[in-house]
Symmetry: C2
Subunit: 255 residues, 2 copies
């Protein structure tokens, strides 16, 4: 693909500006950077001229120039007067680490290769949505555990769980060493059904600080409820993951 084709799209003229007041030059910069980053525009390819860009995006030449200048400053392109700008970024297809398959192995692998840090562990009255899910009386307490999971010292998962009282074996120390599934088993709780949903959200200031990323980055959000044989909700978990460090992998048979 060349830029020629891309820039002919008349929608580009209206494509700028989202709900955030981001500068025009930066939006153009982001657009171009992504094309280069993904390998859509490979090494050596000629970039569009400042004039072409300003036409396509309906901005002034100065704005287009500034976007290109930032690309040059970050080493994506070279700029030579009279000659034009050319991509000097060498794209290599990224290898997405995908060592996980299924829920159970998933958790085991995590336990071996990563560390858990407990942020908070206490009995407390849960928020309304959790109260409703558990079917609690207004003043009933659950055990809340807030944890961060790290790999090589980099935090990639943030967990907030609410759990029924299942005995002494479930405490702040044991959580660091065993998976929660094992703790439930040791406590004699036979978990039966699991319901979970996965969606996406943006990092806000709180989650950004915990996961050591900027705000406005994409995150995976897991909402999981685990029930015992009688259909009683034993445990509810909100988990937030950095997608650059963790993703959900599934294998299954269609037979």
């Amino acid at each position: 693909m060349t830029f020629e084709e891309l820039l002919n799209d008349p929608r580009l003229g209206q494509a700028l500006k989202s709900d955030v007041p981001t500068p025009l030059y930066h939006q153009v910069y982001l657009f171009l950077k992504e094309k280069i980053h993904l390998g859509d525009i490979p090494f050596g390819e000629k970039m569009p001229t400042e004039h072409q860009l300003s036409e396509a995006f309906q901005v002034s030449r100065i704005t287009a120039k500034r976007a290109m200048d930032e690309l040059a400053e970050e080493g994506y392109i070279s700029r030579r007067r009279g000659k034009g700008s050319h991509v000097i970024y060498k794209h290599r297809a990224e290898q997405l680490a995908a060592p996980l398959s299924g829920l159970l192995e998933n958790l085991k692998v995590l336990g071996e290769e990563t560390q858990v840090r407990s942020i908070d562990f206490k009995r407390a009255i849960p928020p309304l949505d959790i109260q409703e899910r558990f079917g609690l009386a207004p003043n009933e307490e659950l055990i809340q555990s807030v944890r961060v999971r790290l790999t090589d010292g980099i935090p990639f998962g943030y967990y907030v769980s609410w759990t029924r009282d299942i005995g002494e074996g479930y405490n702040e120390m044991s959580l660091q060493q065993s998976t929660r599934l094992d703790l439930f088993k040791s406590a004699g709780i036979a978990l039966d059904n699991v319901e979970q949903s996965i969606t996406a959200t943006l990092s806000n200031m709180d989650t950004a600080l915990v996961l050591e990323i900027p705000t406005g980055r994409p995150l995976l959000l897991l909402d999981r409820s685990m029930y015992d044989a009688e259909g009683k909700l034993i445990d509810h978990l909100y988990a937030i993951y950095r997608p650059d460090k963790y993703q959900f992998d599934m294998k299954f048979s269609m037979k």
Copy 2:
């Protein structure tokens, strides 16, 4: 929770500015809006003063004022001189639509309640990463299908699939009427194993235009490979979903 507690967090002073040059007043606005939106600060609660905000975030009073002005303009708070600002937004816990469970039912429900629009359908030489997955010779072609899935006229899913030649039954028209699983079955292809991974990403200009959302919104990204009984890759799919319209729901037993 009140703002008093939130604002005591000294991290707020460093919390602003991400990798995008977003104005300070807008970052403060986003922070406050989220607290109100999530119900952390409920209806009737007193907002912090401009002075408190400027202290907490280490910005000038004018900047804090502007953030509050935008909140008032959007109907989240009321501002009265001498009285302070108060939340007038009534939070209601959002109902996440969750009609799907498991891959197969998932697709069936989709077929009934939603529409598919074909964007592109052709034989073509796939990009390198797809070539490698299929183990193709450099000039070998596959069938590419690009589609959008809509519910009530709102696009929520964008699909790019690459498929081996499986006969005449797999064409642009049949794709609009049957699920691809049914088409494979009709063509006598016995799909066996499925591998898929789910991650999160941000909308760029291309995906934003297709899904009718602003750029920089979170998206769910599905990468799915389907193999036949001999372990031959038959079909590869990239799917992008709006998380406000679609999420992955799973139920399973631990027995």
